[in-house]
Subunit: 362 residues, 2 copies
């Protein structure tokens, strides 16, 4: 099913990703209907319509599906059952299987290994005894993670020399977990890529990411890796997209580590089945933004050019950093984005700033 | 009064200019409340809130003013009385005097002459006898225009050899008019410029415009004039902005004609006290879009950089031209904008396409 201009795209999730998706939809003549449980959410202001209801409310979901031509999501913790229900009523893109797979760190890593991709060593941790075995196998330091509902460092804890395994297991809630062996990486990179309804793939240039307190702080493009690494990273993203029979934009996060011989190698860390914070630079920095690209892909439209417009630096504005908005506006080469969030809580993504260092005018 | 992020800007008018203003507001964390009489309007989808009411509805205007922190407009035929009423309740930027002056072609031309700027020769036409006198003074061909409510060629007619003056006067409704002497121009150009609350002025590069059937068809930047003409045009825009004590973005349309000695000279045609169709290219083609620039100016924020990113061509999609949306999307260097209008009537602006030919990557 291919959309026409004027069609309505339903978006599950009301955060800044939904806000920027809805803005991209406006540009190309599509409408967004945002579905989210929060009374206030950044995406509502950019949306044609909103439904404020829990993700489990079947009556609300049914009305939402009636009002939309197709459904997508910007929030990776939407219950799989919600998407599966909606799929009986309207096309859901990307397909719910991709979301279900990435919601569980164990199935995600197993899928990546199945594609022949390198991941951190990992072990299933079903119970405290399983954690003891996993630590014996993978050694310390290692990272204990809940299988589900993790983002921005939530749902994980480091197992160091001397860490109390029982306490760590309890601290994460005692549910299903996995242990990941520690990876000594040089840098973190990501590929933002899109796959169209016909299976065409377009990747943006390799991003280099810096995290602070587990939250993305800065993205630089191009990444400071050897030139040979970028096509390898792109091929990994293409394998993931094809493996998931994916339609839309995906973010694939990777570590750059050194192989024994000194060469760079890529270890896949995580898949984000949605537009991605490390792709925000594409609004000013690429011919097509990741948000428009996602809309084009799910609409069944041709993908846009991913050509980069210069050397990029994107910086997230976390918490009170957004108070500097006026100074940022006064910088001629900075483009300010604010998400309309009123309460600048610590750790909250309030906006971002993109700087594109352009080649000199010809 | 300076706005803070999260503030609400009221916009009178619901067309594509309001839609793109509201999208720019979203980017920088402002909200737009659109006020327009139409039940369906392109700007509503991008707005935080809407008021659908006539411009003369004082109760609705009062509620609108209560809901906004300041008021601006995207439609140049908003009644002056509406703005004057709103100004008693909330700041209105740009000031209503600028709008009132440009709503009347006679006061507009008189103002421009008062600044020492060249315009087409013109004469007041109060009645049919006045038209006879004006034609005797200015000769034929000449253009008869209503003093008010003209845009895109509406409210004007050509007086040629043999034209029946009485019929022409009647055809334009018999109200107050003016006659403009014919100007043999080489090209049409425009300056899009902004003035901040503190009086700082920033102009975008000189645009060259082509009209078809009185509607803007194409804008090219830079204009193909001698390099010396661009600063002259910019100075004209600066005079107009300062003369109106203007805050916000303005469009100043000019003709390029040849002086007796062969040198280019600029004849001011019209002032548009708002963001302007010939500035749409700034969304992709400049460091700051004219829409964000207008929001920055009226908010009391610093103006953004107007640096251009390449050689530009912007093309309007009029009526059925928008049916080519899919072909346009498939062109890698074209950026498509659709305004969400459902009915592609002939002459209706449905969207636009911008192409930025960038300098090669350094």
């Amino acid at each position: 099913m291919i959309l026409s201009p004027g069609a309505t795209v339903g978006v599950l999730g009301g955060g800044q990703l939904g806000r920027m998706l809805a803005m991209a939809a406006l540009k190309i003549g599509l409408r967004c209907h945002i579905y989210a449980p929060e009374a206030e959410a950044p995406a509502y202001d950019a949306a044609h319509a909103r439904t404020v209801a829990p993700y489990e409310d079947e009556a609300a979901l049914r009305r939402f599906a009636d009002a939309c031509d197709l459904v997508t999501f910007e929030f990776e913790n939407v219950p799989t059952a919600t998407l599966e229900f909606l799929q009986t009523l309207k096309p859901v893109r990307p397909n719910p299987r991709a979301l279900a797979l990435t919601q569980d760190r164990l199935t995600e890593k197993t899928f990546l290994r199945g594609l022949g991709l390198e991941t951190a060593p990992f072990a299933d941790v079903a119970d405290p005894a399983g954690l003891v075995r996993a630590v014996r196998d993978l050694g310390r330091p290692a990272i204990l993670k809940t299988r589900r509902f993790g983002y921005d460092g939530k749902g994980q804890t480091m197992i160091r020399e001397g860490s109390d395994l029982g306490a760590a297991h309890l601290a994460l809630g005692g549910g299903p977990m996995l242990l990941e062996g520690f990876v000594a990486f040089e840098r973190e990179v990501s590929v933002i890529a899109a796959r169209s309804l016909e299976g065409a793939i377009a990747s943006f240039d390799l991003c280099e990411n810096e995290h602070e307190r587990h939250i993305l702080a800065r993205t630089r493009v191009p990444a400071r890796t050897s030139p040979a690494l970028a096509p390898v990273a792109r091929e990994i993203a293409e394998k993931v997209l094809a493996g998931l029979d994916y339609v839309g934009v995906i973010g694939v996060e990777m570590f750059v580590a050194r192989a024994a011989g000194g060469a760079e190698r890529l270890i896949v860390n995580e898949i984000a089945p949605r537009v991605h914070n490390s792709g925000h630079w594409t609004i000013e920095g690429a011919e097509t933004s990741q948000f428009e690209q996602h809309m084009r892909a799910i609409a069944g439209w041709p993908l846009g050019s991913t050509t980069r417009r210069g050397a990029i630096e994107m910086r997230n504005l976390i918490g009170e950093e957004a108070d500097d908005w006026r100074d940022i506006l006064a910088e001629p080469d900075m483009s300010l984005h604010l998400y309309g969030k009123q309460d600048a809580r610590p750790g909250r993504k309030m906006g971002h700033v993109t700087r594109v260092l352009r080649p000199p005018e010809a």
